[in-house]
């Protein structure tokens, strides 16, 4: 009986949240005609319900919202500097972006880019415009287009084409705000684009890294390291470093302990510290971490998740923990029959995972998860549409446990823009109780990899009416662009994020 409840709880968490299954059974059985069988049933289900209630305490496991019905499956999602989410679906709908407004939970149609940007790369420029690279002509066939979306005007601007089509490229923002584009399939005839290109924002031209030709996996997981090079973290091994100066060059890095980690996400959870988690074939429940600040960085295992996962998403939270949502534990690539509904939360302090509340539907291939400025996480989409358990044209919002642990600190004032490395004042009535200050770069996620999110812990000191907060000392630790600033109190409860633009053109420290 308990197993039945447990299973049912996983598959319809949102329904049981408002009306737990055990209690509903007891109510439904008021008829005394069921006799002793009914009594036994009530006894067991009430006991199970008590266990469930404890396990589902939102201050321990968080809580997913009820399901939102959308008119498309969010396959790409980019957080804009105005706090809204630019998203678009898959295949023929890849040219029909929409904008989700988290406060009202409403969607509006965005201006279309004029071509299919499904399977493209994306990042947010220093001025808040979204750079979209490549897209979908057909299976394994990319487009060479690049475009900018302006969240203020709502318009798209065509940029000069890249060297070739890119299907599944990755955008990585450099310290100075330029953007490196890597990988992406050109076509079945011509293979993968091996040429990294740098979008030079101020010049409006592409710089070809012609001495850095290398075939990478699709949607390579790239990060700016503390010394300004780029680090290829996966999904294949070995890891590599890309020096983007001049015409570029690669050097080989350490090897993953488990490889390949196809469709296993990764995150930079602190300056120079990266975790890769899950992936397949397999899939695996293992996760690995690396500290690029070390003299000889190497990958090492951290704790394993409770569930193997492929096609999951990993999202940085303001308190430094990492939320993993969705995915499949099955051997097949997008196996909804082995859907993993429960989220898991990784603590960098302990290296351990905690099981969180469960999604309502399977979210695997082509699903997204994205941190919102209010500290919640948008989880939506997927490609599978076998109902149940799939329902791809939907989204739900996860409220992490910290939102159920008491009052949130408030930010009464913060600068909208700062120079890199500068100290700035943040007004808050809660200054005395603030124990951590973090910021997280605006996310841009698709195909399990968020190409933009990264977290830094900021140093701070008490000031009259607030805090003096200091941005990371190097632009390598905070590439130009927008960040959500969070104040966390002694209960690790974060404030609502305050949007801050980092301008590294005035950075006091040199960067590569």
């Amino acid at each position: 009986m308990f197993d039945w409840l447990s299973s049912r709880r996983q598959k319809s968490e949102s329904t049981q949240r408002t009306e737990p299954a055990g209690l509903r059974l007891s109510g439904a059985g008021r008829s005394m005609k069921q006799g002793l069988l009914w009594v036994a049933l009530v006894s067991v289900t009430l006991a199970s319900a008590c266990t469930w209630a404890s396990a589902q305490d939102p201050s321990a496991v968080g809580q997913f919202s009820s399901l939102m019905n959308w008119n498309d499956n969010p396959t790409h999602a980019v957080l804009l500097s105005n706090g809204k989410v630019l998203w678009w679906g898959s295949f023929a709908n890849g040219g029909k972006p929409q904008i989700f407004e988290p406060v009202s939970s409403t969607n509006t149609v965005a201006t279309p880019p004029g071509y299919n940007i499904f399977c493209g790369g994306h990042s947010v420029l220093g001025n808040g415009q979204v750079l979209v690279t490549g897209g979908d002509s057909a299976l394994n066939t990319g487009v060479a287009n690049a475009s900018l979306y302006d969240p203020v005007s709502g318009n798209w601007t065509f940029l000069p084409n890249m060297n070739a089509g890119r299907w599944y490229p990755t955008n990585t923002t450099l310290p100075n705000g330029d953007v490196v584009v890597t990988s992406g399939e050109i076509s079945p005839t011509l293979g993968t684009d091996a040429l990294p290109q740098v979008w030079q924002v101020s010049r409006g031209t592409w710089r070809d890294l012609t001495t850095a030709q290398l075939v990478l996996a699709l949607y390579p997981e790239m990060y700016v390291t503390p010394n300004g090079t780029l680090f290829y973290a996966g999904p294949t091994s070995p890891s590599r470093y890309l020096d983007t100066t001049g015409t570029g060059s690669w050097t080989t890095g350490p090897s993953l302990n488990f490889s390949p980690r196809g469709y296993g996400p990764s995150v930079m959870y602190d300056n120079g510290k990266i975790m890769v988690v899950g992936g397949g074939p397999g899939p695996t429940a293992t996760a690995e971490i690396i500290n690029l600040n070390a003299p000889a960085p190497s990958w090492s295992y951290t704790g394993s998740m409770a569930n193997p996962r492929r096609n999951a998403n990993a999202t940085l939270l303001p308190d430094g923990t990492v939320l993993v949502t969705g995915g499949t534990s099955g051997a097949q690539f997008d196996d909804y029959t082995h859907a993993v509904y429960s989220a898991e939360l990784w603590s960098p302090a302990t290296g351990t995972w905690s099981t969180m509340a469960s999604l309502s539907v399977y979210r695997g291939y082509h699903s997204v998860a994205l941190l919102l400025p209010d500290g919640r996480v948008l989880s939506g989409g997927g490609e599978c549409n076998t109902t149940p358990p799939c329902n791809r044209n939907t989204a739900e919002i996860f409220s992490p446990p910290y939102l159920f642990k008491g009052p949130r600190p408030t930010i009464t004032s913060a600068p909208t823009s700062i120079g890199g490395g500068r100290t700035f004042f943040v007004g808050t009535p809660d200054a005395a109780n603030i124990t951590q200050v973090t910021w997280i770069r605006l996310g841009a996620v698709t195909h399990t990899f968020n190409q933009e999110q990264r977290l830094s812990y900021l140093s701070f000191g008490q000031a009259a009416g607030g805090l003096n907060v200091t941005a990371p000392p190097s632009a390598n630790l905070a590439p130009a662009g927008y960040y959500m600033l969070f104040l966390l109190n002694s209960s690790n409860v974060p404030s609502v994020g305050s949007m801050i633009q980092v301008d590294n053109s005035t950075h006091g420290h040199k960067h590569k």
């Binding site: 299976l139 060479a144 079945p188 011509l190 001495t211 030709q213 990478l216 097949q332």
Partner: protein
């Protein structure tokens, strides 16, 4: 690493009633046999690039679905799919071309860059040198004389090259006003096609030792074109961007550049293969997602799937090459209920993979 799947898992022989292929030219009444060529990784994907004129050697790349652990392969009927490995320190390789002797060209990562390779069964994988001062190379095609077409990349940019039979690289330059070129195909006469930037944009080129690099022009309304195959007669196929899509073209000295259209007039179609008879294969968007096509002068563009008996579970999305025997190398997916779903939009399932590689061989029917 070659996997030892059971024969009935690896090889699905389909008796396929299709338009007749006689000497590479379409005529009515023949059948195809289709052989699935397998994969290097269990449950993985395979993509074919090319086969020799007799269909005895097929090359491409195979790995886990969506690209990891991808390796160049050569397939022969007696030996199946053989992993060609990588250069030392490499994590990726792919094969793009093969000649009638079974010599293969492609590229492989090494520890720090990508290098073109030439492979044969006797000597294994050998590296192709870049142009002086360059660091990376890529090879797309080899002819029966052992000449190889590709590109070299370095501080001075990316330049189309031809390697001689002695494996010495020679720059093909670029079109006037351009500084970037790549060579994709070479015929037995040593004629080479590819793409080059120019003062007019990205253009398809034909290179000969006598005339050098010549701009093949552009389809009306297009912004850029690439030429990807050339046959013995000097006919060339490629594709041009057109609005938000693309169009395949066939070029000949006599007729210039001709658009091959698309299935149902959809926005995207791309030419991928060409034989000496002028048959063209590729992929076209349809209302049901991408489909492999065969184009002939007499029959126009046909969806290969529409010619396959509906009893089979194979959905062909790309035809990447056609040889002089009329054999077609095609990439597709296998669906367990395709008979029921044949008219369904299965793009999402093809996308999730795995992708399978099929060799379609025409079988003459009684006339």
């Amino acid at each position: 690493m070659r996997t030892d799947f059971s024969i009935d898992k690896l090889i699905a022989v389909l008796a396929v009633s299709v338009t007749c292929m006689l000497g590479g030219v379409a005529c009515a009444g023949d059948t195809y046999t289709a052989v699935e060529l397998g994969a290097l990784r269990e449950g993985g994907s395979s993509v074919g690039r090319y086969m020799d004129r007799a269909g005895g050697h097929v090359v491409g790349s195979s790995g886990f679905t969506h690209g990891s652990e991808t390796r160049a392969f050569i397939w022969t009927a007696p030996s199946g799919m053989r992993d060609l490995g990588t250069f030392q320190g490499g994590d990726y390789s792919e094969a793009f071309g093969v000649n009638d002797a079974g010599t293969v060209v492609g590229d492989s990562n090494n520890r720090e860059t990508m290098r073109a390779f030439v492979w044969n069964a006797r000597e294994g994988m050998r590296e192709l040198s870049p142009l002086p001062g360059d660091s990376a190379t890529r090879a797309f095609a080899i002819n029966n004389s052992g000449q190889i077409a590709g590109y070299s990349s370095g501080k001075h940019g990316v330049r189309a090259v031809v390697w001689s039979a002695k494996l010495e690289p020679r720059s093909l330059g670029s079109l006037a006003g351009g500084n970037y070129s790549e060579a994709y195909a070479i015929n037995n006469a040593g004629q080479i096609v590819g793409m080059s930037t120019s003062s007019s944009g990205t253009r398809p080129f034909l290179w000969t030792s006598r005339d050098g690099m010549v701009d093949l022009g552009i389809l009306m309304g297009s912004e850029s074109c690439k030429a990807v195959r050339i046959n013995h007669a000097g006919q060339v196929v490629g594709s041009c961007t057109l609005g938000s899509g693309s169009r395949p073209f066939l070029w000949s000295k006599e007729n210039g550049m001709q658009s091959l259209g698309s299935l149902g007039g959809k926005e995207y179609a791309e030419a991928m293969g060409l034989n000496d008879s002028g048959s063209v294969v590729g992929s076209s968007e349809t209302s049901l997602g991408p489909r492999a096509f065969l184009w002939t002068k007499s029959g126009g563009m046909q969806d290969l799937n529409s010619l396959i008996p509906s009893t089979h579970d194979v959905l062909l999305v790309q035809a990447v090459h056609v040889n002089n025997n009329g054999q077609i190398l095609a990439v597709g997916s296998i669906h367990h209920d395709l008979t029921h779903d044949r008219e369904a939009h299965l793009d999402d399932e093809s996308h999730a993979g795995p992708l399978h590689l099929f060799l379609l061989t025409p079988v003459s029917s009684p006339h």
